[in-house]
């Protein structure tokens, strides 16, 4: 699965674009996080890797800004388990175990669409990386909604 960030500008936010895309292409999308109001919307979704190019171009045709968020990478050798990152994580991807070791759950992380923890790590064990082997380019317009 690959995570994609969909941004819906104000003028198209009232259209059922996600539903229509799923129906038209028969590709399942798993929505991880979403924030939509009448000014626009932002949806983080998971797409099967083999369908990524088809899905991205389908959304772009409808005027959706598509980016592939970078992923959070934790260098376990560097991590000193201080927990500085823990309170910054809005998705619960970072937890502290009973023995006070810090645990990172990649599944719950929304990557560079959040990224709050990256500059809080005092030993710089947290970095953002691109999904390897990905041919799809990010949209030009990177202005956040």
């Amino acid at each position: 699965m690959v995570r994609i960030l969909l941004r819906f500008p104000e003028k198209i936010v009232d259209q059922p674009i996600i539903a229509e895309t799923i129906l038209k292409h028969g590709i399942p999308l798993n929505i991880i996080a979403a924030h939509v109001d009448f000014h626009g919307g932002q949806v983080l979704a998971e797409v099967p890797s083999q369908d990524i190019e088809k899905v991205v171009s389908a959304f772009r045709e409808r005027g959706v800004i598509v980016t592939i968020p970078k992923l959070i990478e934790v260098d376990k050798e560097k991590c000193i388990h201080c927990g500085s990152c823990f309170s910054l994580c809005p998705t619960g991807a970072i937890t502290i175990n009973e023995d006070f070791s810090v645990n990172f759950d990649k599944e719950k992380c929304v990557g560079s669409s959040c990224g709050l923890c990256v500059d809080a790590c005092p030993v710089r064990a947290i970095t953002l990386t691109r999904e390897p082997n990905l041919l799809v380019q990010n949209s030009e317009n990177k202005k956040s909604v």
Binding site: C82, C85, F86, S87, S101, L116, P122, V123
Partner: protein, 509 residues
């Protein structure tokens, strides 16, 4: 009393007796964590009878740390005036080739990312570092320039010498501002979005011996993975406020980078994580009771770091038990809280020290002088008064949101200002409009004020130091700040012009 004496054999122990037991291999050692459990289960008397030593630990960012090095003499010799290691300026406090690497000194080429703390870590790990130095040259020290690559093996002395470490307890930090701030207490999200704390709570060394019965000059300790010493109380030692500190020394050449680490706090600077563990010999039953202290018994204030003043507002108190649970309540809201010191490493340190003592690798030492218990921690004497916002604040030109742009433009001309503060019917802040916004609106044919108002306004308060307000303006690249009270009612405005005028007056006066 007689019966208890019989039960315990004897009322007190000495360090020498404990060392004898270490030698024989039958010393009883528990970590502070284990001691608390034993006391809870079996009571203080049994615990005192069974346990000789309790080990403690902490591993946190300790900025007042550094290392002394001696390079040996070059040929021809140099009396170093300025020096850098890996581009980090290092201080030259004494004769020719002694240097002090301060943990918070930052690299001139990679500031905020690499600093003195990292140099110390790199040297300990055996890496090569580049030393550069300049000097004015004398008859006895003719050399004026130096560049050399060294490792720790090339140094005569390389020891950690920390002025203030191991705070007994510290505060919990949060942030009331509308923006994220970066502090030595870590990254603090806007509007009390998170909180941070430091210190190991009930595992902290000084917390387990709060009357400093066994800690003082000459106490042998775990320091950075090897044996080091307490050499006195640290700077800002504040015993009456349960905030004692330590000055420590240890041989860096034997340290382990697992327990001593360079660190960078974004937009604050670099520092050093230092691992310290202190063995508390249970010399009397009182010490057994003290080492049973629990996280729920240690309380610290929640402090608003959003207010850039020495006396930051306190928003309540919390215990280390609550802090270690992962969330606390601030203003009725549940807030996630981060430890900044590694509690995992703190436990590891206590465990390691316990193992050393049990294996006969570490003997206890009685202090030749205990840490003082009566010193005061005073604020700085400032011979020049701090200038506050109120000394330059003046009445703001205000308008309501439903006014026409044309009307606001007239106000700007009439009062000859650049900023008009938008308020509601109660005088509370709604936004701000600048003459530039008005010009742009006219150029773009906009008529409604509501379309051009900036609503996310950076503000100040009457009793904020002017320097802090001025920093806000330059950070946000703006030239005015509305002055508001706690209910967001607009009391006035300050502009960069006001500050420039004040500086001009000060310089001329």
């Amino acid at each position: 009393m007689f019966r208890r004496k019989q039960m315990l054999g004897k009322d007190t122990r000495t360090v020498a007796e404990i060392n004898e037991k270490i030698k024989k291999g039958d010393v009883q050692v528990l970590t502070a964590e284990e001691m608390k459990k034993l006391v809870e289960k079996s009571g203080v008397e049994v615990a005192y009878k069974e346990v000789d030593v309790v080990t403690t630990g902490t591993f946190g960012a300790m900025c007042s740390s550094g290392a002394v090095i001696n390079l040996g003499h070059s040929d021809p010799p140099i009396k170093i005036q300025n020096a850098w290691i890996n581009d980090v300026p290092v201080c030259h406090p004494g004769a020719a080739v002694d240097l002090y690497i301060g943990a918070t000194q930052m690299s001139e080429t990679r500031p905020f990312e690499y600093g003195g703390g990292h140099v110390i870590e790199d040297l300990i790990s055996g890496k090569e570092v580049e030393v550069r130095a300049t000097a004015y040259g004398t008859d006895c020290y003719p050399r004026t320039k130096l560049r050399t690559i060294i490792t720790k093996d090339d140094l005569n002395q390389f020891y950690l010498l920390n002025f203030r470490n191991c705070y007994q307890r510290y505060v919990c930090a949060t942030n009331s501002r509308d923006e994220t701030i970066y502090t030595y207490m870590g990254k603090l999200l806007p509007r009390f979005g998170n909180a941070t704390f430091s210190g190991a709570g009930a595992l902290n060394p000084l917390m387990n011996d709060p009357d400093y019965e066994t800690i003082g000059i000459g106490t042998r300790i775990f320091l950075g993975g090897t044996q080091g010493y307490v050499i006195g109380e640290g700077t800002q030692h504040d015993p009456k406020n349960l905030s004692g500190t330590l000055m420590v020394r240890g041989d860096c050449k034997n340290m382990n980078t697992r327990f001593i680490k360079g660190a960078a706090f974004t937009k604050y600077g670099t520092t050093l994580y230092v691992g310290i563990g202190i063995p508390i010999p249970l010399l009397n039953i009182g010490l057994a009771k003290k080492t049973a202290i629990r996280d729920e018994d240690i309380h610290i204030p929640i402090v608003d770091y959003g207010v850039p003043a020495r006396n930051r507002p306190k928003l309540g108190t919390v215990s280390y038990k609550e802090l270690k649970s992962g969330s606390i309540i601030i203003n009725g809201k549940k807030v996630k809280v981060s430890p900044l010191s590694s509690l995992k490493a703190a436990e590891e340190i206590a465990e390691t020290l316990k193992a050393w003592i049990k294996e006969g690798l570490f003997y206890l030492s009685a202090p030749v002088e205990r840490l003082p218990r009566d010193t005061e921690y005073k604020p700085m004497k400032q011979s020049e008064e701090t200038v506050l916002v109120k000394s330059v604040a003046h009445q703001a030109v205000t308008c309501r949101e439903d006014e026409k742009i044309e009307e606001v433009a007239k106000q700007i001309i009439r009062y000859s200002v650049n900023h008009v503060v938008v308020v509601d019917e109660l005088g509370k802040l709604r936004g701000i409009v600048t003459s530039w916004d008005i010009t742009k609106a006219v150029a773009e044919g906009k008529e409604k004020l509501a379309d051009i108002v900036t609503r996310k306004v950076v503000t100040t308060q009457m009793d904020e130091p002017l320097e802090a307000a001025s920093r806000k303006m330059s950070q946000h690249q703006i030239s005015a700040l509305p002055v508001i009270d706690h209910n967001r009612k607009v009391l006035g405005i300050i502009t960069s012009e006001d500050i420039a005028k004040l500086l001009g007056r000060q310089q001329n006066g």
